[in-house]
Amino acid sequence: MRRLALLPLLLVPLLLACEPPLDAGSIAMHQPAPPPPPTGAALLLQPEDLPPGQTVLRLGVTPYSSPAALTAELQPIANWLTGVLGVQVQLKIASNYEDLVAQFAAGQVDVALFSPLSYVMARRRVPDLHLLAQTLSYGAASYTSYILVRVDDPAQGLRDLKGRRMAWVDPFSTAGYLFPYDALLVAGVDPERDLRSTLFAGTHEAALAALVAGQVDAAAVSSSTLVLKRGDPVHGLDLGSVRILARAGRIPYDATCARPAIPVSGVRKISWALQNLDTRSQQGRAVLATAEGITGWIPAADDTYDGVRAALVRVQKHRDQFGRPEVGRATR
């Protein structure tokens, strides 16, 4: 009985002895990293990896900058690919977005760097194209579209943009036109009727500059523009004078594609070569140092661009009501 009376005394040590010991462990991540692609000689293109008789690889790009600037930016990538693949890679600059899709469909370029919207267009025209990889830009796989206003602007939401002046980037721009256009539609603002005026600034920086300068009341730009500019005040833009009114969609970065005639074995080697190039290594940083925003490539899937496809359908449907030309047919 006396022993029994001692049992309650166990309470205190028992409760105090609950101090968990020092521990260590892992928390499983939801997105496991993909296995690294092969390197070295496995990437050398053999004759059977290319269409019969072809000895060069033509890399088509859109003219988002002057041909000279573009060449300076992208030639190191072409050179690097030449070294890795063992085949001459020629840089081929298209005259515009539409031209690149056309050249690609016509087999005049073998590999093309498409903007998201261009990729959707190209897939429409060349359904059996090969999606090689998705570009990483500034270390991110996707970006968004910002609809910016000046900090002192009274607008609180997209609906407040009715009757205001709006700056787009380009009718073929995903972040600078398609997604913000769709976002306005969803918010109940008709970009065709409700805006007092619209301006196609041509580039993201130009649209931003128009807003800062007060030429427009709102501007739609890519989020990467803002990220880049925040850490890079070279352009002299006062980013403290603008604020984000709304974000529009989540946009995957550019798609790198190969034309259907390239054999699958070649497609795989080109894809691996691209995935081996990123800014994590000193060599990668050297190759990509001049390429604006490109920091690497990752494996890509077509459904990544479904959001772009859906926005395009909605926007095109709306534009059709006003007899506007097809988005993909627009010219700068």
């Binding site: 409760l15 499983a28 991540m29």
Partner: protein, 470 residues
């Protein structure tokens, strides 16, 4: 009634069932609460720690994309700015002590400490970021964590998260101060201890009162009834109005007590009947004994009495004489030896029945003339003796003479039924210790005196004369 054994169980001392049940109930409740509380606190602590780890990992996860972007363009100053910003802002409920970005081989490429006022140059190892952990963090696809204690003994949590943005750009590692979490666990623990004790006390009291109502009170009533019955109150009963085992036990006990009462009363009744019967038998036995004693006395009397005359016989005479003679310093005892003169002739003349009647009348007359302390006995035939204690010979002679005279003057017609004429007696007298020292000698002396009286003409008393020395 059986005597009470003072060492029996009813006088035992010690804790009662109630106390023991209360102690057991409290012990069981406390033990259960201790176990449950311990487990609860343990799991609560684990929850808090898991929560802290998850929050830390998620905080680092949000940091991953901007940091990855900075790394992707090799903008290390921007990376420093991000890390400093995070280190200053801290995490919810947890202060960040140190945050760093590791490259693919676990090298620190940028870092920031929360408290830069110390002036010390922070190194990763100061925050438990040793080489093995950095390697593990850099190579793991998962968020890695571990808990360490700083030199002051404060708990720290180090968490790493792969900085993945399309590609893995590195690993973010941060060390958090877990003291707020420890404080929360400690507060929760003591709150739970308090609640457990309170709950245990309430539950213990409730259990005790319940057990008391259900068990202790009925048992006490049963014990009281048993004690009362032991003291002899067979009418005592245990009142347990419960419809359970104890109620049934009380019913059985009461039935047993009733049976015992009825049995005991029956037994007592039988004992009383038996006692009465024994008493009756005793009385009968006593009566028989009395009769027996009477018969024995009669037998004794018959053994010491002469059947014809009703006076003492020769045997008794000898016993009495022996008592008075032979002891030194006794007062003088005189013996008279009496003989009826010419009795043979009387018998022959008038028949034995008349002779017997004469003997009876002589005995009566002799008895009448003696004291109560004297013994008259029939010595044999027509011969009588009288022992006169404390009587000198001269007094004895006077007595003898008076007896002789009384007989010789007595008219025997009435006693004999016919006229038989004069009856006389001769008496010899001897005295102890004057004439003889022993009874036999005394008898011989008296007999000799009687012979002398006969020879000298009968109807006379003659004292023993000491013969002159030869």
């Amino acid at each position: 009634m059986r005597p009470v054994d003072r060492t029996s169980r009813l006088v035992r001392r010690g804790r009662g069932i109630g106390t023991r049940l209360a102690l057991m109930a409290a012990a069981v409740v406390l033990l259960t609460m201790a176990l449950a509380g311990g487990l609860l606190i343990r799991s609560m602590g684990q929850v808090y720690h898991t929560e802290a780890r998850t929050r830390a990992a998620s905080l680092l996860g949000t940091l991953a994309v901007p940091c990855a972007m900075a790394v992707s363009v090799n903008a290390l100053e921007r990376l420093d700015a991000y890390l400093s910003e995070v280190a200053r802002a801290g995490g919810e409920h947890m202060d960040i002590l140190h945050v760093a970005m590791l490259d693919s081989s676990g090298r620190v490429i940028a870092q920031a400490v929360a408290d830069e006022r110390s002036g010390e140059v922070a190194t990763a190892s100061m925050f438990g970021l040793d080489e093995p952990f950095r390697r593990r963090a850099a190579n793991s696809a998962d968020a890695e964590w571990r808990e360490t204690r700083d030199p002051a003994g404060h708990l720290r949590l180090t968490v790493s998260t792969p900085a993945v943005s399309g590609l893995r750009w590195g690993t973010i590692v941060a060390t958090f101060d877990l003291r707020p979490v420890e404080l929360r666990v400690r507060i929760a623990r003591w709150a739970l201890v308090g609640l457990s004790l309170l709950f245990a006390a309430v539950l213990g009291i409730e259990m005790y009162s319940g057990l008391s109502r259900m068990v202790v009170t009925p048992v006490r009533r049963l014990a009281a009834a048993a004690a009362a019955i032991q003291r002899g109150n067979l009418g005592a009963r245990a009142e347990v109005p419960q419809n359970d085992e104890l109620g049934r036990l009380a019913d059985a006990f009461n039935d047993m007590a009733a049976q015992m009462q009825s049995y005991t009363e029956g037994l007592e009744r039988k004992v009383a009947e038996r006692s009465a019967e024994v008493q009756r038998k005793n009385e009968q036995l006593e009566a028989v004994n009395a009769q027996l004693e009477q018969a024995v006395a009669e037998l004794a009397r018959l053994a010491s009495q002469d059947a014809l005359t009703g006076i003492a016989n020769r045997r008794q005479f000898m016993e009495v004489l022996e008592r008075h003679v032979g002891k030194p310093a006794q007062p003088p005892t005189t013996l008279l030896m009496v003989d009826v003169d010419h009795f043979k002739r009387l018998n022959d003349t008038f028949g034995h029945p008349v002779g017997d009647r004469v003997l009876r009348e002589v005995a009566r007359l002799l008895g009448t003339g003696l004291r109560g302390t004297d013994l008259l006995a029939r010595y044999g035939g027509e011969e009588f003796t009288a022992v006169l204690p404390a009587t000198p010979p001269d007094v004895g002679f006077e007595v003898a003479e008076r007896l002789r005279t009384a007989i010789s003057h007595h008219d025997f017609r009435e006693a004999a039924g016919i006229d038989i004429g004069k009856v006389s007696v001769s008496i010899g007298i001897a005295c102890h210790p004057i004439h003889a020292a022993t009874s036999a000698e005394l008898i011989r002396c008296a007999d000799e005196a009687l012979y002398t009286a006969k020879r000298e003409g009968r109807d006379r008393a003659v004292a023993f004369r000491v013969p002159p020395p030869a």
